[in-house]
Amino acid sequence: MERAEDIKSYKPDQPIQDSDVQSGFKYEVAEHVGAEGLMRCLKCGACSGGCPVAAVTDYRPRKVLGDVLLGLKDQVLSSDTLWLCAACFTCEERCIQEVNFTDVVTVLRNMAVREGFAAEGYMEMAKRVIQFGRVSPLTRQVERMRENLNLPPLQEPAIEELRAIMESAGFPEIMEAATRRSKTV
């Protein structure tokens, strides 16, 4: 009956050292658009209970929020699990405190990238956007699928304009920060 109680055992928490805690972290996060509701969290776990990713991995939205509120900045921003959220917005709809967790994740990811903790897959995507103007390159197979679905052919992206926009938005510096960290690691 308890079919899934052990679907995925959870890594026990490591003891927290004083030096791990940056007490101002939650305020820093809550200043960003989308993360204002952070401090309302009751850590009730409704977000984790409905999260499709939590059902199959170690990732727990409630845990991420708990760690942010505790001030475990490095641990949160460097964790791999931060990149597991599928952005399905289920938690956001279920949360009884209007914490808007999916938006908090976006904020945390943006912070993580600036600190140089981007997940490799996301870096690859970013590079592809700069290079081809698309997240995934246009292949013959995609073209054929579109034909079968009676969709019009895709236009060539305006790469030059796109690059100009990204440059003025500071995209290369962000990429640079991320790459720097991955070189030193």
Binding site: R3, L42, C44, S48, I96, Q97
Partner: protein
């Protein structure tokens, strides 16, 4: 105190000798008794055919597990027999004018089509009535006839004909030896004068179907807590046999989900309903107590347990230690149905360990929060009362005058002010009675 004697005739009394109590739940009953015992007369107006309110539907009461009916029934008959109390059940207040000392109240007495002074409550009419509908008192789980009492201790013990479903076949009329039934009776509006008013219209349960993710209304084996109370009650639709609705089997494993329509800002119920943790634990314990041979696993899923009252924490610990109730700290994410056996799969995170749980229960009970009663805004408008943002009646000075409203001569008690358990509702009933009596005394001529 039990007072016996001839019933007073309210119409003959001065307004400053009489109080009106609106709502005949346990708090309104207490207020009526305490005013009446001081020698004033009371008109108690109750919307349904019987006084008693929600307490009459409950099986046991926390934290002592006393039988609810055993505590309530003597009070019901005390109210019914008290010479200074005039019961107006199946009635509603239509309008109120005037001020403290002299309120003019018009009361709509809906036609119950059975004469209260003739009906003996024998029920001989019942088998003759061909119409069967769901019994509201049993939360729709049992059935009643169109001529009915909701439960055996219906007070006053007078049958009522539900005009909505009655087909006027006249079978009941013929069967009644006392000639108590008159299908041509019509609603009646009467005027009374009172010096003080106590509002005790109680509460309503949150409609748990608003949470699609918890499956109520979609899955048969998801029920609400009041339905559970009726299912384990010896006078209920199953004669106290706990069973699940899909197949009538005794559920071996039961999950209770707390805070359904409480502490949820997105559903406009940001407040804690106070009683749900305790009634959740009570019902979990009762499941084990009644069916310890069969019910093997009982789990309560909660945000946290609020056991704030006298003896509550001890009761909570007893549930854990003696009855082996499992408590999971984690609000449930969602439930689904196992289509094969109609069991309910509950998904939640145990937030104390971080474990993601997916547990199958044969029955799931949702524990709904407490809302202001239907029609409270109308009552408030009639009286010139303000409502708080949560919809309950506003009290100006909750710390120093907890039962006083902003209108002089008008008092409140019970859940109409906010969620309360029975002891607190009764205490407030006594307090409101005292405040109302003081008004009657001051306004009267001495």
């Amino acid at each position: 105190m039990t007072v016996a004697g001839e019933k007073i005739v309210v119409e003959d009394r001065k307004s400053t000798d009489t109080a009106l109590v609106i709502g005949g739940g346990v708090s309104g009953m207490q207020a009526a008794l305490d005013i009446a015992d001081q020698g004033y007369s009371v008109v108690l107006v109750e919307r349904t055919p019987s006084i008693g309110g929600v307490m009459a539907m409950l099986d046991k009461t926390f934290p002592t597990l006393d039988c609810s009916a055993c505590i309530l029934t003597p009070k019901l008959s005390e109210v019914a027999r008290h010479p200074n109390i005039e019961l107006m059940t199946y009635s509603e207040v239509k309008s109120i004018t005037g001020t403290a000392g002299n309120f003019r109240v018009s009361v709509l007495r809906k036609a119950r089509k059975v004469l209260e002074d003739k009906c003996s409550g024998c029920g001989d009419c019942v088998p003759h009535c061909p119409i069967e509908v769901r019994n509201e008192f049993d939360q729709g789980l049992g059935y009643r006839k169109a001529v009915y009492i909701g439960f055996p201790q219906n007070t006053p013990l007078v049958y009522t004909i539900d005009s909505e479903n009655c087909i006027k076949c006249g079978m009941c009329v013929k069967s009644c030896e006392r000639e108590a039934i008159d299908l041509d009776l019509e609603d009646e509006e009467i005027e009374i004068s009172v010096g003080a008013i106590v509002v005790a219209t109680g509460y309503e349960l949150y409609n748990v179907a608003n949470y699609r993710r918890f499956g109520y209304g979609r899955f048969k084996n998801v029920i609400n807590a009041l339905e559970f109370e009726r299912l384990i009650n010896a006078a209920g639709p199953t004669a106290g046999n706990l069973m699940r609705l899909s197949d009538g089997k005794i559920p071996k494993s039961i999950g209770f989900i707390q805070c359904v329509g409480a502490r949820d800002a997105t559903k406009d119920v940001p407040y804690c309903s106070r009683v749900c943790c305790m009634y959740g634990i009570k019902n979990a314990v009762m499941a084990k107590e009644l069916q310890h041979e069969n019910v093997k696993k009982v789990t309560i899923y909660s945000i946290d347990i609020r056991a704030f009252g006298k003896g509550f924490e001890e009761f909570y610990n007893m549930a854990k230690d003696r009855f082996g109730i499992k408590f999971i700290r984690g609000r449930v994410g969602e439930v689904s149905e196992n289509s094969r056996n109609k069991n309910i799969i509950v998904r939640a995170e145990d937030t104390t360990t971080g474990k993601f749980l997916e547990q199958e229960h044969e029955l799931v009970v949702l524990c709904p929060g407490i809302l202001p009663p239907k029609g409270l805004r109308d009552t408030a408008n009639q009286l010139g009362l303000q409502l708080d943002s949560d919809g309950f009646i506003h009290v100006e000075q909750p710390a120093s005058n907890p039962v006083d409203t902003a209108v002089s001569g008008v008092y409140i008690c019970g859940c109409v002010e906010g969620p309360k358990d029975i002891p607190d509702s009764v205490a407030a009933g006594s307090a409101a009675a005292m405040r109302a009596s003081i008004t009657l005394w001051r306004e009267g001529e001495h």
